[in-house]
Symmetry: D2
Subunit: 351 residues, 4 copies
């Protein structure tokens, strides 16, 4: 067991290559994990298509993928909290451990973070090495395909919990896979009503299926009036911004009532032009930048929501494909047919 | 329309008397409300049986009752926010309006508060006069019998929201009518799991029907172990104490995990002997004293939960009786047969 | 006592006119106040010079001025909390009292607010009428000239307290009169270090005098490095943005460490172009829009800071001028010579 | 360098013995520290006198002492964040690192914590071994004698910051060494006024010297009235309970205004009898159990307060004695003559 298959970006150009590479070596405090299921993310698509962001951030060659679950295959001599054979997922943000953020419970925004599948080798491979501190032992009540997407599901949970939705009305702008996940999460976390906004009718249909109380095309001219009517004329208590689109951010902020909260997870590719006075200052809004998942508060929350059955992701995980069909997976994502795709690495390629 | 029927405590002794009294006069900023439905509360029972608390607090003669809904019958000349005919409930704590608490959004703990049905005439009467600022216009989506119990339901909502239950495990000690209400409220507000504890098997059965994930007799010797097992060995995140019993408070605090939160609503009749070191200090607990309902944050939250159908009180409101059957209502409460009783004042006694 | 002098905007053009007008009539719940001292604000300057904002917001004729103190001259029949002769200031934002915000302790962001000196007659006059609920009885320990500027001082206190500065490092962008006040307020509220940034050297000198640990020209190329060095390379914990300048907002946000907080009080006159990803989202920042002063939490906090001598405004109130010298006051403000000017209305014009 | 001097409890009886013992061995992730200065704590006194608590908790033989600073003498091969020669202090609570609390930023209340000088060998010795994660590199701006007492100073800071004192009135019950430290800490953290309460006149005199606005004998019959008068009749906003005395806890809670906060650090040796209804529930109080210091938020806060000179402990560190005078140190503590004693281990006993 010294060689393995890995999906890699090997040159500064579009596409991925499935390569045979050495199984990673592990240090004293590391854990080697046999990857069994791995989620495909929009970020992977950016790296695949080699857009401007990817050009600046990615340094080939590197193995892609950052959402996964699997079984512990080996542990370093200093590892004490997991054992070979344990079923695990892992936090893909590897924090430095010694900075102000890391030492005050905010490792998710560590300034020296390294992200698997971006800054170092990722999880679209038979094996991945992770520091012990990043490994998350899986409760037997968590199905494999949910465990494989704890990373994006955790983004949704972190955003929802940071915003605080209990008994509140909530608008979500952008219902890609994380925005979709945010709907049942917000409902389970206590939202009184959830309104989904997007430009894609198929995504809005899916939004309704997973629990949105109402869905709106972002271009619907009656949108503002209808949301005001559904919120006693006040506007929504909470905005979850998951599109990264400048116009959606402006629309979303305009929907929030005075004194409301807006959590921004979507990442705009360019500067955004904002009427700060009208959208934020006069309204007394609280705006939260959201990054990653809290280590490991978000993981405990996610586990609680999934294990108790409060959150059902079945309609969102639209495809589970064998690893070798990765090209089809990326085609499905590009076409917009898929919401969330999980690759199965257990069956076909392992030694 | 100058005389009306009212249920009154007229002497320092057990019992109530139904009397004809003048319809209350209203000041410039007051609202006269024709009471239609009124909830019966444990406090009314204390006043009925004339226990030690009642002896010290109640100064007969006074009309009893503090949970109600009805229609506006008349308004003072300075009233602007409601009109004759409006369907309303009202906050029964009448705050002074000028103290530190009142001027900083904490009127629910105003030091000079007067409570209807306790310190001044209450709602077991055809009419009640309320200051405009205490009147709560009812959304058409709120059924009468729910509107009549917004006061105790608000106690439950205030306790749940102060504790913060979103994605948390919750133990409730004491499932009288407010403890029972707290179960669907906690679920709707996002609790991942709710455990109900009481000495009364009938109440525990009801607790299960309204959504408790597990119920426990307070004397069950395996209770602590089972709750630890259901919470990964940590204990519950949140305690909602609704019994006022010293032993339940001790048990409840022992169930809370380190760093957890406990909200105390139940009122002990005597001092409580607590191991502060073990129960609160070493654990780093946060303990919240809960009184009344936030004006009017709790009311908005309660409205949101009821209007959207997130909270279903049908199994808890066990009886709706005509006003003239008030003696039977108190007998049903004493016997423990009833959870929540609502009196209907519309039909039989009004002029 | 039926006529009085008032400084008014009487036509849609630059300048003010001192006119004789009737003393305001008061309603049942109103208080008539004999104005004794009144602060001059940048907003008054905008109205004086009739800029774009003033053109859209102000409907002449209207009496200007919104910061003041004085003595109660008369009260309506329903007023109970103040008496004739009481020394008072008043909150200049008159809230509707019945909206969601007003009923949940957030009247400072009431959507139907009316502001004195902007939307209705203000305090540059011998008398002003205020609703009882807006009147703030003055503690004997508060000097007149401080009481006269509780409105802008309250803006500073609200911003500082919303941001939370206890043991934190704080950068303030823009040290006009409110920014200057924020320096001793932040120090008194527990800031460990305060850095002031502006383009005006005279204001920076004043900033140092009132307690800034370091001051920086906004154009100083070494500013970022020096602030990083003074904050262990992390950046400041808290930004208080008080300039309203787009470039200062960008600079200020760039100075805040990951996980920090930014409170925005300065009002940009145009849209601001922001790199939301780098400035807010990746950093996990909390950004707070700040408007007015909390009613009346901020007033209690301001009173505590001034009464205990924790905050010393003497260097900031650069001029106390007789009312008739109002033209000189506006000339001093335009020239930048003055920080805060207080007009004395007691001596010369009253009947 | 294989043997060293250590102050040890060697048998279940009163007293300590200075023994020669082996220098501790260190593991891969451990740091060996040459102790230079170490604080003497009330806990050490309990162990010295062998009271009931000590009998149950301490398992001789064990080296005593848990407050210290020194220099790094050796590091394990996996240590990366400190180097030999670094000046350091250390958090004495050694947390498990993998429980819910440790993984959610609350390691200070880890259920599996081990405390140096209590559960394992402590710092009254020439050398101590600590896990790398517990070591706190000292800023050059922190004097040795302050660094030696970061543990109790951190208790004071944790209590003050958890309670939140900015612009608030604060009562402190119990001004032993931590209570005394809490006075300048509360002032520096923004308290508007600080009232100290104790039974010991000498401690109250010291309290006044370090910044208490007023001091009170706990038995003064006019205490309550005077504190009410100094707080506009409301009571204090915040209680910091640092005595562990049942009667002081009752008195302290009675002083807190409705809606106030109480932070309990003092550890009662027995159960406490509390009128929960009057003291906590009706008042809507928030009561916080405080344990240890937040890792490492409290350390950063403490560093900021000391480094900027906001907190001056000189009057509180009443004695700095050579290590060999430890018996005199314990005699001074017993007599009440000393507030905080620091032992100097650098000069006389090291090899």
């Amino acid at each position: 067991m010294t060689a393995m298959q890995a999906l890699r970006k090997i040159a500064p150009e579009p596409g991925f290559v499935l390569q045979e590479v050495p199984v990673p070596e592990i240090g004293a405090s590391d854990v080697l994990i046999r990857v069994e299921k791995a989620g495909v993310c929009g970020t992977d698509q950016h790296i695949y298509s080699w857009d401007r962001w990817a050009e600046h951030r990615i340094h080939p060659p590197v193995t892609i993928g950052h959402e996964f679950m699997g079984k512990v295959a080996a542990i370093g001599p200093a590892v004490r909290s997991v054992r070979v054979g344990d079923r695990v997922s892992a936090e893909g943000h590897i924090a430095c451990g010694v900075c102000l953020l890391c030492r005050t419970g905010e490792a998710h925004i560590c300034e020296h973070v390294e992200i698997i599948g971006v800054d170092r080798d990722g999880s679209f491979a038979d094996y991945i090495a992770m520091p012990e501190g990043n490994v998350w032992p899986l409760d037997p009540g968590i199905p494999d395909q949910y465990a494989a997407v704890f990373d994006p599901l955790g983004n949704a949970v972190h955003t929802v919990m940071a915003a605080g939705v209990s008994t509140k009305s909530v608008a979500i702008t952008g219902v890609g896979s994380i925005g979709l996940m945010a709907i049942p999460v917000a409902r389970a976390a206590g939202a009184a009503s959830v309104f989904a906004i997007d430009v894609n009718p198929a995504k809005l249909e899916l939004a309704a299926r997973v629990g949105a109380d109402a869905t709106f095309s972002a271009t619907d001219p009656g949108l503002v009036d209808e949301i005001l009517e559904r919120t006693n004329g006040d506007g929504v208590d909470v905005l979850l911004e998951m599109s990264g689109s400048g116009s959606a951010i402006d629309l979303g902020l305009s929907l929030v009532r005075n004194g409301g909260r807006a959590a921004l997870l979507g990442i705009p590719s360019d500067n955004v032009n904002i009427n700060l006075a009208e959208r934020i200052i006069f309204k007394g809004l609280t705006v939260l930048g959201i990054n990653g998942r809290r280590m490991f508060e978000t993981w405990y929350q996610t586990q609680a929501l999934v294990k108790t059955g409060r959150v059902d992701l079945r309609p969102i995980i639209t495809h589970i494909l064998p690893f070798r069909d990765f090209d089809r997976a990326f085609a499905l994502m590009r076409s917009g047919e898929a919401a969330k795709i999980v690759l199965d690495l257990k069956g076909d390629l392992a030694p």
